[in-house]
Structure formats: structure tokens, C-alpha cells
Symmetry: C2
């Protein structure tokens, strides 16, 4: 009997996608399912991005440069400059989504057995990519009661060993929506320098900050050799299917090593790079409109959630996610029940149970993540469903 | 001082791309460079594939299913059926190029420290992906004198250890162009069964066979649980920049494990899947025309090479590569010299030194790979350059 690899066995199924068959069954049975479970925005991809691809006139769909098209990298450097990040285009490697930037960072900087510290709850795929690269993820718990603020730096100190090589953060955060404050970024800087660590910073949601300014890891002086910025156009421009991300670093050895992995997979997708390059030329007010829309949605969903009996939802400062603590015995069972056994006026809501975002077993059992990727009207209907469900759910705790 | 990972240090630079700066300098100096070094065809991408993308009308560039669009997978299953491969669309996982299919195969089936056997010379990126996955590549030498036929099965037996978990082949082969015969595939089958191995078979060049029929690993009865087919649209349809490949297996445990890695990177590129799906609807004579074109080029390049004094080029049965043994002391130095110090009527030729395709140090020092991805006229000019160069190269050996 042929064996699957140990890492293949250990690799978790996507915590979001494992409920999909139940959602499909509900839809088949005529129930309208409101999807708050996945970060796939309903906002239209900007027309100039799609037009750039549709109006292209090349005859051969060629490989691009392994680091991405130079024309796109030059424009992207200008985008970063506007965000207060001064880099040369040669310090950018275009990747196939932020996913590949995460994997390449891990492979190029860390060896099998090395440890990466990350606040939990965390983006579940950090764990999966770490597993693929043979790394240990060491979680430090952020609590919903504190709104998922960065845990005290002493908690980091406690977890640091001789194998600790990096800290991974997502800012603003997926799944919590938390936006790190200047003093938190400063605390991270101190520990990164003290222990000579890499700081991998996923800033895919940079443009969506509702409470205060975004502090990029790239803004931190003295961390030039430590910071690897992981980025993506997926959420920024509602272009998840493009599969265009970026890895940015001022550390030449890191860039050289990552380039070797990039060459191995030949090039990032060519069509999508055309769309990505067009995005840089969008009018400067593009993000204002999108951000205002997400902020309205956030205000709605947070207000609706906190108005429900026994529900607590801290106000997220960025991204388009909210985490809520529900008065239920087991959020995994509740999310399944919502799809299998519940409907309200012919509809139900699909949520992401939070357990998949925690590295520590047993945490997050009463929490769910809600992605506010639907319009306000749909969010309100989804909240009506949730409110009705919480009144009748057999496993409710209040 | 922060350290790069050991695997990042060990990862080789692309053997093809390391000459690129010299080619760029030659072009800057006004020399016309004929590129026979890389498998980027000049043949136009079929217009219906580009039109399908350009005429698309969706508003949101969404994630696709992690296994790829069902509509595309269903059509691809029909394509395989026509190639004598009977599979269900659910046995296909669409990947971001064959590159990702190779990486996912390695990660899902093999653990760090496991060994994979592959005939050398081999596609250099097998080594790089193996390194990324912590595997040992064990090469078995095929010789240019035998036209790169599969080495005797006893050579495989000698290399098998308790850690041997898989054999990797590319058929028709990159870099040699060798097309495996029915009896060679049968010999591989016997050893795969005897030692309970996986057989990873890269069939990216399946449609380009000039001498005899292509025998897919999927045609081998009794290997249903062993075979993982790795595929790509890059070469088949001159669509290298699409980054669309596939992993096909009848082993449900392999499919389950690969799907978990596929979910981690969310989805393959959406634009390119539209082009890939349109490719399946191309008229049935599409490959006839393309194959005839490549065959003419092969005949030209092989005839020209063998007519040069001291040069030997076995006739490749498939793909669009030829390997040639040259009367030079060091093919790496010669390829560099062609770009740095030589021109003939204002032109030179860029070749891939073969050393990068061998796992055994010291092999291939007199060999180069030529990709016949230029039209016949250009191939003839490139051969004029090579012929003239071999007459004056200071390191010639005849």
C-alpha cells in the first residue's frame, strides 16, 4: 500500500472550505445562503483592470520575468512610495498571490525544524505553509476581550527558543480585523532586533483601515534587513482570481534566495500582471470609495452583532473581517447546524468557525469569523438569520 | 547577521537564466541573439484562447475552485479520453503550471529525506522542487551515445534503497527530446510495482511526438494507484505565461492530500483557466499543424548539427529540444563565450549548457541543449553562427 507523506496527512483541510458541501446541499434544497465565511468580496473588480486584459493585443502568451514584469514592478514601487515605503523596483518580486510570497519567505529564510511565532487567531494558511516547509508554528494568544490587541511582549519572550527565527504578523489582521498600533509595531521591532529575527508582515489589507493610520513594517527604521513584506492585489482591488502578490525586502540575500525559488516556478501569471499594472493607474480616490463602503458594512455588522443577546464583537480597525463570540456551546457545530438544520424566511448564513484560526487546541470554540463582503442589505438579512438562529439553536449557552 | 536557510543557499540558480545578463549585454552592443536556450515557443497562442479571455464579461475576478473550474476540468477529462486516458474530472486538480503539480506531488507523497530516482539529464527544476521539499534526487545516467534511451532497469535496481519512494520521468523528455518506447514504459512499470513506488510522469510535451506513439504512464494497467500525471498547457498551446497545469491521479488518497495543498494556495489563476478551457475546443487538426512545424524544425536543426565537424546530435523523438555533443572543452564556457566574445554577421546564438541538467557532477561538460522554438530560417542563421563559432572557439577539442 502506497503511503501519503506525513506532512500530507498532517496538512489540515481548509477550515473555511470544509463546510462547503453542506452549503451546496442547502442551496440545492432551495435555501438562500448568505456567505460571510470567505474573503471573496462582492465589490466589482475595477473596470480599467479588466479592460487592460481584454484590450491586450499580444500574439504569444509568454513567460514573464521570474520576478514579474519590470514595467509592473516599477509602477508598484511608485505605489509603495505613496504609502511611505521607499523601495527600488528590484526589491520587489511578483508572486502568484500572497500565498506564494508566504511559502517562498518560509523556504528561503527558514529551515525544517525552525520556529515561527505568530499571534493567534491567525490566517490558517500560515500554518499550512509552515507545515509544507517543515516549520513549527508557535502561537501567542490574543484575546477577543482585548479586541485582539498584540499580546504583551513578555509573552513573546517566553516562547523564544534557539530555533525561533521569525515572527509572522498580518496587519490589518485576518481573521480579527485588528489594526496594530504604533506602539505595538515598536514593541515588535524591539524584540525582532533583540533576538535577531525575521519579521514577515502580511499587509494584504493595508488600504482598508478605519481607525487610525496603517503602520507598515517597512516604516520601522533599523529593520531593513529583517522585514519581508507580503502583499497581494486580491482584496485591495477585488481581484482574488488574479493570483498576483508580491514579496518585498531590502535584504539582498533574501531577495537572491527568493529569486531562486521564483525561477524554479518560471513566472507569475501573465494575463493577471496586466490587470495588476493597470490597477496602479486607478484614480487616486479609488480606495476612498471602497474603504467607505467597507466601513459602512463594518459599522452595520458590528452594531447588529453587539445588539444580539450574549454576542460580543470587538470593533475591528481594518480589513473586512469581524470576530464575534457567540452564546453557543461549539461554534463548529453551530456553523454546521446553520447550514444543515436552520433557515429563516428561506435563508441562512454561512460563517467560519474560529477554531481553524487558532493553533492552541480548545481555543475559539465560541467564536466565529464574519467577512463583510456583502452589501449592507444582505448583511442585514444575514444578521436577521443569525439573530433568529441564536434564539432557537439547541446548543445555546445563555 | 540574519541567515538565509540552508535550502535557500543550496538552491541552484536556473542554469538557463544565469546567462541572461550576458545575452542582454550582447543585445545592448548591437548583436542579434538567436535564443535556442529556453522553451519559450515563437508559435502564436491560438487566437480562440486569447479571444476567450478578451471577450469575457464577468465583473468580479473571483477565486476559482481550488481544484480549478469544474467546466474546465470536465473538458480536460474529455481531452484525456481522446488521448486514451480514461479519468473522471474529479481526478484532475488544476495547478498553477506543471511547476506546482510537481511541488504538490512531492509534498503530498514524499517526506523530507525520501529519495526520488530520475534519469539524467533531467529537467533542472525537478532538483529544485525536490530540494524545496527536502528530498534527495538520485540520478541514473542516460547517455547521448544511446540517444538518451532509458538506462537498463538493473541500474535502477542498484539505486533503490529503503528511502526510495518514487521515480520521476518526463516523456517526451525535456531536455533530451527522448520519447520512451513501449518496452521502456513496461520496464518502469515492473520496477514501480516490485518496489511499491510512485511514478511521477511529466507529459507536458505529449502532443509533440515525431517517431512513434506516445505511451502515457496512465496507459499502464495495474499502476492506477502509483501514477501521478503532471501536465501543462504551456508548451502544448504556446501559452507559457498562462501558468495552467494539472495533476491527474486515480489514487484517491493522493488526490485528497494534494487538494489540501491546493486549498492552501486558494486557487489557480482565473483569467488563464478561461484560455485553457477554450483550448480544448480548438479544431482537431490544431496539433497536426503545430507538430508538422516542429518536426520540420527538428529535421533542420538535427541535420545542421550533425553536419558540423565533431558534433553529434541524436535524433529526438519528441518535445522541441535536441541535445548535442560539441567539440569544446567546456560547454558552459563556450555558451558564455558565444555571448561575450563572438558574433557572426552581427549575430550569435544562445544555448543552454547541459551541466545544469545533470545531477552527477562532471557530466554533460561537452553537451548543450537546443530548443527549436524559432522558425526554420532563424534556426538556419543560428546554426550558421554555431558552425562559425566552433571553427574559431579557442577551447575547441578537434
Amino acid at each position: 500500500m502506497l503511503q501519503i507523506s506525513k506532512r500530507g496527512q498532517l496538512m489540515p483541510s481548509s477550515p473555511i472550505r470544509k463546510l462547503v458541501p453542506y452549503a451546496e446541499a442547502a442551496i440545492k434544497n432551495g435555501t438562500k445562503v448568505y456567505h460571510l465565511n470567505i474573503g471573496q468580496p462582492d465589490i466589482e473588480t475595477p473596470q480599467p483592470m479588466l479592460d487592460a486584459v481584454r484590450n491586450s493585443s499580444f500574439k504569444v502568451l509568454e513567460y514573464s520575468h521570474s520576478a514579474g514584469n519590470e514595467s509592473y514592478r516599477r509602477k508598484l514601487a511608485a505605489y509603495y512610495y505613496q504609502a511611505g515605503i521607499q523601495i527600488d523596483y528590484r526589491q520587489i518580486i511578483i508572486t502568484t498571490g500572497a500565498s506564494e510570497a508566504i511559502l517562498f519567505s518560509f523556504l528561503a529564510c527558514l529551515d525544517s525544524g525552525d520556529e515561527v511565532i505568530t499571534p493567534e487567531p491567525f490566517y490558517a494558511n500560515y500554518y499550512s505553509f509552515a507545515l509544507a516547509a517543515g516549520l513549527q508554528v508557535v502561537p501567542i494568544t490574543a484575546s477577543i476581550e482585548n479586541g485582539f490587541a498584540l499580546p504583551p511582549i513578555e509573552e513573546f519572550e517566553k516562547k523564544i527558543t534557539a530555533r525561533t527565527k521569525a515572527i509572522v504578523i498580518c496587519n490589518p489582521n485576518n481573521p480579527t480585523g485588528y489594526l496594530y498600533k504604533a506602539e505595538e509595531m515598536e514593541a515588535l521591532k524591539q524584540i525582532v532586533i533583540k533576538h535577531n529575527l525575521y519579521l514577515f508582515c502580511d499587509e494584504a489589507y493595508r488600504e482598508f483601515c478605519y481607525e487610525g493610520e496603517h503602520i507598515s513594517a517597512m516604516h520601522l527604521e533599523g529593520l531593513e534587513q529583517h522585514v519581508i513584506l507580503i502583499d497581494s492585489i486580491s482584496k485591495r482591488y477585488s481581484a482574488c482570481g488574479a493570483r498576483v502578490g508580491a514579496l518585498v525586502s531590502k535584504n539582498p540575500a533574501v531577495l537572491d534566495a527568493v529569486m531562486k525559488f521564483a525561477q524554479t516556478r518560471l513566472s507569475p501569471p501573465s494575463f493577471a500582471q496586466i490587470a495588476a499594472e493597470a490597477a496602479i493607474d486607478l484614480p487616486s480616490d479609488y480606495f476612498n470609495a471602497t474603504k467607505a463602503e467597507y466601513k459602512r458594512r463594518r459599522d452595520t455588522i458590528v452594531q447588529r452583532l453587539n445588539a444580539m443577546e450574549g454576542v460580543f464583537c470587538p470593533n475591528p480597525g481594518g480589513a473586512f473581517y469581524a470576530m464575534a463570540k457567540l452564546p453557543v456551546d461549539d461554534a463548529d457545530a453551530f456553523c454546521l447546524w446553520l447550514l444543515k438544520s436552520f433557515s429563516h424566511k428561506g435563508a441562512t448564513v454561512m460563517l467560519a468557525p474560529a477554531t481553524g484560526f487558532y493553533g492552541t487546541a480548545g481555543l475559539g470554540k465560541q467564536e466565529v469569523r464574519l467577512a463583510y463582503v456583502l452589501n449592507e442589505q444582505d448583511i442585514n438579512i444575514a444578521m436577521d438569520c443569525l439573530e433568529a438562529a441564536l434564539k432557537v439553536y439547541p446548543g445555546k449557552t445563555n
